[in-house]
């Protein structure tokens, strides 16, 4: 239902923009769909359903290097925010040691991976972010997370003053589109890539004052 509404909004926004993206270079969406449908085959856990775009991915793809229209961005972010499930027991932080292992682990969800279960997936964090000072092999597609909690003044994650940043960070990991419609970061909770316990461990890595991130 929600997707339908968003899709309608995306389409009307395009019509307003004169359908330029829809027909850029004389290639319409149907022709692109035909290329995708005829080019891929399923392999292992990677089925052809993976080629289906939800409304957010369709809008962000169409925008290419730019951004979708403001009302589309708003709708994507609203939908994303609504998808976020806070931890059932109200506890946000797990074990930063497990979190660090997850951050280092770049595996998961490829056709060469055996299963799509969260326990077989890594967090892939180091591929894009600096996380600790010790690990020099980090990517730069995302911002540095070194001193993440410290820089945000989190000295006691259980204190009331820390709650806004705790909730923000959980939301960001769960569904990064909540704050940035076309964020490059996977939606770890929303897409079932990591389970609640794993997200808690990543939260601890970022926000526990004893974690190497904050030392």
């Amino acid at each position: 239902m929600k997707h339908c509404k968003l899709l309608a909004l995306v389409c009307s926004a395009w019509l307003l923009a004169g359908c330029t993206t829809l027909l850029s270079g004389g290639v319409d969406d149907a022709r692109v769909a035909k290329m995708m449908d005829t080019s891929f085959r399923p392999e292992g856990i990677a089925g052809l359903d993976r080629l289906q775009q939800d409304a957010a991915n369709a809008a962000c793809s169409a925008a290419q290097d730019g951004s979708p229209p403001a009302e589309v961005v708003e709708a994507i972010q609203r939908d994303a925010l609504q998808s976020v499930k806070m931890p059932a027991d109200g506890k946000f932080l797990g074990d930063w040691r497990e979190g660090e292992k997850l951050a280092q682990n770049g595996r998961g969800m490829t056709w060469s991976d055996k299963s799509a279960l969260p326990r077989d997936n890594g967090g892939n964090c180091l591929n894009c972010h600096q996380v600790t000072r010790e690990e020099v092999a980090y990517g730069t597609l995302g911002p540095s997370l070194y001193h993440y909690g410290r820089d945000r003044g989190v000295t006691d994650p259980n204190s009331p003053t820390a709650q806004p940043i705790i909730a923000y960070t959980w939301t960001k990991i769960y569904n990064a589109k909540s704050y940035n419609a076309c964020s490059g970061m996977p939606r770890f909770g929303h897409k079932g890539l990591l389970d609640e316990a794993q997200i808690k461990d990543l939260m601890a890595l970022l926000l526990d004052p004893n974690s190497p991130v904050n030392r």
Partner: protein, 155 residues
């Protein structure tokens, strides 16, 4: 020539059979070739010294080890051993934390410079060593640390 080839083939087959039986095949290979299997099987410096019947290496500025500070991939790490000393018999390249330390052993003659470069595999960050075994039995070394990094996208 052919005798040696046959022997080596036979010993390789024997080694394969022993491997199947879960037995160490090193001696079989060592018997056939001039290959010093014990040296290439040494896990520690004392083992290596025993296998090569060599003295304990002493650090020396006259021996150099070349290699990168960081290796982008442990599958291919360029390292080299050299010395300015005269009277060198052998140059060794060692990787401390590999399953077996010794990677390469060069027998130096008067016709070559005591300076060899090759590429080795490294399972993890480790010190690498160039060791010079002299004609008079003295042994010198130089070392450096090579950090092996993880690759993107799951390795």
């Amino acid at each position: 020539m052919s005798t040696r080839r046959e022997m080596m083939n036979r010993s390789a087959q024997l080694a394969g059979m022993l491997a199947l039986l879960g037995m160490a095949p090193q001696w079989a290979l060592a018997q056939a070739a001039s290959f010093n299997a014990a040296a290439f099987d040494a896990k520690t410096m004392p083992d290596l010294m025993k296998a090569l019947d060599m003295a304990a290496p002493v650090e020396s500025k006259d021996v150099t080890i070349t290699g990168p500070d960081i290796a982008e991939n442990g599958a291919v790490v360029p390292i080299g051993a050299a010395t300015t000393l005269t009277g060198v018999k052998r140059l060794l390249l060692l990787v401390e934390k590999n399953p077996s330390m010794l990677s390469a052993m060069f027998d130096v003659s008067d016709a070559v410079e005591p300076n060899f470069s090759t590429r080795v595999k490294m399972g993890q960050s480790s010190n690498v060593f160039a060791v010079a075994i002299m004609n008079d039995g003295k042994v010198f070394y130089a070392s450096k640390e090579v950090k092996v990094t993880l690759g993107g996208c799951g390795g």
